[in-house]
Every structure is written in structure tokens, then in C-alpha cells.
Symmetry: C2
Subunit: 330 residues, 2 copies
């Protein structure tokens, strides 16, 4: 299983490979919330999201025969780019199963990294089955996007860095808000953070309609999302909490929050205006929850993981032009 | 006069006040150019540009009577926000003379920081005369945007940090590209960088039609821009090199480069797509020069100062939608 030592080992493996992304402090969020807000900018990570951490940690542990046989992954785009980048650097053939309607920036980014892309119809086909067939046919290793100890440990290095960098500012987060889909990032960061700061509270944030983790934490068992739901957050559409990740989340999280598409759009426009950052819908949910007043920040040190920045120009420019976005947003 | 010791003193004054902005390495620019490209992200500085460094360094040196009498500045918007933020923190009344057609984000940002704003018509009125009258009437201190030793020294701290942070990566820039208008940033950074790395080459980058520094360096004397010119780079429209800054630039720069509005738009869209950063037109000129192949980067370590990120949503969304921007840009 994955534990703190596994995250420390992942950090050693990633040293000099992934970016120690900035932890931004002293933003207008402090005045706005009455708290001290820290933003861990994984949107500035290589490939534009945290996903390369877990992917590299997993692929670097393959033996020479496994590397030659290649890897297969399925992903809406961020895990795809993470696996593709790690595979290219480690000289491993990679095939990625991606939805045909994934953001163009994610499809193009994965292709530019040299991966072989197989697209599928998100509404009628089972990506996991397609990926497993491809892997079986080629003898390749399937690289899950969250339910894997090496993936969880790799994503957990975000938490290690966050606590370290906060410490360099003389701060320790009282509360951490984390985007959550399958739970790889949330469980890894929760493990790292609680090991270093046992009193720290952690909450996951999900898109409304895809708040399976929030509901599962309340129910005490893994619940799936209702089929047919829609969300702007293309990166956060996993059907249910992972088998490995959920027990960790149950043990380590205080609970879950959900944000609407409008709150996500508002947060993206706010980040454009006040932080000068491009954040994708799924990457901005923690900030959206804070801006929507979903947590009590006053007097506390609150860390947000900004998990990705891969958003298409068309969507981004549309939300900047909407009445609630851009110029009007406070 | 301003020298390296003045920049070191400014750095001590700014410690714990301004942000040590990230130095981004390992971006797709390395593969694209064949060099090692480092980006110093002053777009992530407090107030969204480097200008708070010089403003704080200047205002912090006012005596109590001067502080009570207040400060006056004129600026298209970044110096305005820098002065307003420093004045608010130091409890100094601030009046800023700004063009009526300055970007909304800069007008609103300056107002939100509590400054008193006086607007003028950029085409028919003399902002310097207006500011001098206001300052004389109130006994206030005029805070120039570049031609002042304390301002130059403050902006020079960007260079100190850049060289330090490159050193932490085991690198030393061979070449630094700097946005230039009045020359405060360029002369300060050149002073700091050449003191630490005497062999480093520095070039300033200006908008086409506002390349007074480039032409002045060639001519060996201060030349003004032709009146009536237009540029997307609202932050880089100073009429001529400064009296204090130009002799420094003459001594320290290798020369100047100019970029077109189209090259600026392309670089902004590229940064959106590949760096997940919001960069304003005047802040992106160094990157634009690199992307346009204006310098030889192959085999060299090239540092770019990304000097600001204050751009209106309307302009940004328009350029993302243009055929050359967003999806199509490589």
C-alpha cells in the first residue's frame, strides 16, 4: 500500500524531473477572505497539470522488459499528457485512449509528446475496456489514472512541497482544498499533509453532479455519479471514487464540497484578472469553493491546489466575454 | 547615482514586501529554440508587474513630512498600481495621472488600491506637466516612472533575483532580453546582471515604432519616437530614453530589438497555450522577440523578463479567437 515513505521515495524519484511549482502567497484573496491564502500552482507544472508526477513515478519503476512492451493509459487529457511526457523521456512506447471530445489543447499536447492516441465516444464506449484490450494485445502495462499506489504516491509529492514551501514562509496550512475526481491527487496530498501536519483539515472539491466523493464520504461507502451528467470540468468526470483512494479519503478528509459551472467560470475569470493565471475548469474548483464562500477562511491559513491549466482558447475567451467574467468580476 | 550597492540596498528594503517571483525553466521553449530558456515571471509580482519594486524603494525613503504631503505619479497603469500599492501600505496619500484610455484593469486596479486618479487625454495633454502642477500645488513628491535612482535600483532587484535563481538551477544566463520603454527596468537589471555576470549580453526589446532606445543606442544619442505612433503595448509608449537611464543602457546593453503587434499577439497566445500564463502586450515583448527568431538561442542560456500581466479581458479574448492565436498557434 501507499504510505508516507512511498511519497518520500516518489519525491526522490521526481527530483530534477518535475517542477517544484510556485506557492503563491499575498494575493488579493487574503483581503477578500480575511485568511492567509496559499496557492500551489500545478497549472505551471510540466504538461500543465500535476499528472506527470504520478505518471513518472509509475513509469520509472517499470523494468526493462516492461518498458519495451510499452504502456497504455486512458484519460480525458491531463493524465494522458503526463504519461506521454514520462514515456517519451524514458523511451517507452505509449498508447493513450482519449475521448474524441477532449479539449483540443489536451489532444494536441498528448500527440506532440509522441504518444499514439486512440479516441473513443465518451457516451457510448467503455474507455477502460478499450484500454485493457489494447494493453492485453500488446503485453503493455496499463497505467491507471488514480487507482495505483505509485500514482497516488507521485501525486502526493504536491503535498510534500506545499507543506515545505509554506514552512519557508513561516506558515502551516490549517485547511487544504483539493480538486477531486478519482481521488489520486486528494488521497496522495492528504497522506503527505496529514503526516507532516496532523491537525490540518482537508476538503476535496468536486463539480456539482460529479460529487461522488462528497456523497460517498457522507454515506460511508463508494457511490457512483448519476449517468448522463454534464460539467465544464472535463478533468473531473470519474464515475466513482477509486477502490484504493476511497479508504484513504475516508480516513484523511474532513469532507467534500461541490461547485457549480457558474462558480467555476467566475473563478477562472477572477484568476485571469487578479492572478494573471490560466486555470482550466477542473483545476480551479478549489479556488471556486473559496470565492463562493464555501469554507470559513477568516483567521486561518488556507492552501489551494490549482491542479491544471489546460483549457482551450475558445472556452477561455468565451468566459472572459461573459457578463459575469472578465471586466465585471470582482 | 545608482550602482550595484544601491540595488543591494533596494533588495534589503523589499525583502518580505515584494514577491520573489518564480523563474520558470524547462518549458517547450528549450526544444523550440535549442537553448535553455528561463522566464522571470514579474507578471506574478504584486500588482501584476515589476513596477512595485521601484515604487516601494522610492516611497520607503521619504521622510515623515514628505510622506504626509503625499506623492504624485503619472503612468499608463503599471507604475500607477505600483505607486498606489506602496503608498497604501506606507500610509501615504497618492494621486496618479493616467490616460483616459488606459486598460480598464489598470484603472480599476489603481482605484482599488485607494489612489486618487486624474485622467488626461493622451493625444492632446502633457501628463508630465499635469503631474508637476499637481505635485507643486500640494507640496507632494513627484515619483517618476523611470528617471530616478531609487526607481532604477528597485527595478534592478529583478536582475539580482534572476541571477540568484538561475544559479540555484546551476545556470548563468548568456543573454538577457528585457522589455524597454523609459529604461528603468532595463538599466536596473543590466546593472545588477553585469555586476554579477560581466560576460552576460543584454538586449532590450521595444515595440516597433517605439524603438527609440534601439535607435538611440545605434546613434549614440537620445532620439525620440515619431509622434502619432500606435502600438498594442500600452505600457511601452515612453517618448524617448530617460536622461538617467540612457547612459547606463549605452554602457551595459549590446543593443535593441523591435517586435511588431502581430508578433506580440502571437507570443501572448503562445504563452496562454504553452505556459498557462496571462501576459500583457508590453510584458511579452522579450518572449515575442525569441519566438520571432530575433536572437540566436541555440546552445545558450537565455533569460527573458516577463514584465507584466495586466491586460483587459476583451483584448485577451479577441487575440485568442484570432486565426493566428489560440488553437492554431504552435
Amino acid at each position: 500500500m501507499v504510505d508516507f515513505a512511498a511519497i518520500e521515495a516518489a519525491a526522490r524519484r521526481l527530483a530534477g524531473i518535475t517542477r517544484r511549482t510556485p506557492l503563491l502567497a499575498g494575493t488579493p484573496l487574503d483581503e477578500l477572505t480575511g485568511g492567509r491564502v496559499l496557492l500551489k500552482l500545478e497549472s505551471l507544472q510540466l504538461t500543465g497539470s500535476f499528472k506527470i508526477r504520478g505518471a513518472w513515478n509509475r513509469l520509472a519503476q517499470l523494468d526493462p522488459a516492461e518498458r519495451r512492451a510499452g504502456v497504455v493509459a486512458f484519460s480525458s487529457g491531463n493524465h494522458a499528457q503526463g504519461v506521454a511526457a514520462a514515456a517519451r523521456a524514458l523511451d517507452i512506447p505509449a498508447t493513450i485512449v482519449m475521448p474524441a471530445d477532449a479539449p483540443q489543447v489536451k489532444l494536441a499536447g498528448t500527440r506532440a509528446l509522441g504518444a499514439n492516441i486512440v479516441t473513443y465516444d465518451r457516451h457510448s464506449e467503455d474507455r477502460e475496456a478499450i484500454a485493457m484490450q489494447l494493453a492485453a494485445r500488446r503485453g503493455a502495462t496499463l497505467v491507471p489514472s488514480y487507482d495505483d499506489p505509485a500514482i497516488i504516491a507521485g501525486q502526493g509529492t504536491v503535498g510534500l512541497e506545499l507543506v515545505e514551501q509554506a514552512g519557508e514562509l513561516g506558515l502551516a496550512p490549517d485547511l487544504v482544498l483539493l480538486a477531486c475526481s478519482g481521488g489520486g491527487l486528494a488521497s496522495g496530498v492528504a497522506l503527505a499533509t496529514r503526516a507532516l501536519l496532523p491537525a490540518c483539515e482537508l476538503n476535496c472539491v468536486e463539480p456539482a453532479g460529479f460529487d461522488d466523493t462528497r456523497r460517498s464520504l457522507l454515506a460511508g461507502e463508494r457511490l457512483a455519479n448519476a449517468p448522463g451528467g454534464q460539467s465544464l470540468c472535463d478533468a473531473l468526470l470519474a464515475p466513482a471514487p477509486g477502490r484504493l483512494t476511497f479508504p484513504l479519503l475516508q480516513r484523511l478528509l474532513a469532507g467534500g464540497l461541490a461547485v457549480s459551472d457558474d462558480e467555476v467560470r467566475h473563478a477562472m475569470a477572477w484568476a485571469f484578472r487578479h492572478l494573471k493565471l490560466v486555470i482550466e475548469p477542473g483545476g480551479v474548483v478549489a479556488l471556486a469553493a473559496l470565492l463562493a464562500g464555501r469554507v470559513l477562511a477568516r483567521g486561518r491559513t488556507v492552501a489551494l491546489v490549482i491542479s491544471g491549466g489546460n483549457v482551450d482558447a475558445g472556452l477561455f475567451s468565451a468566459l472572459l466575454q461573459a457578463p459575469a467574467g472578465g471586466g465585471a468580476v470582482q
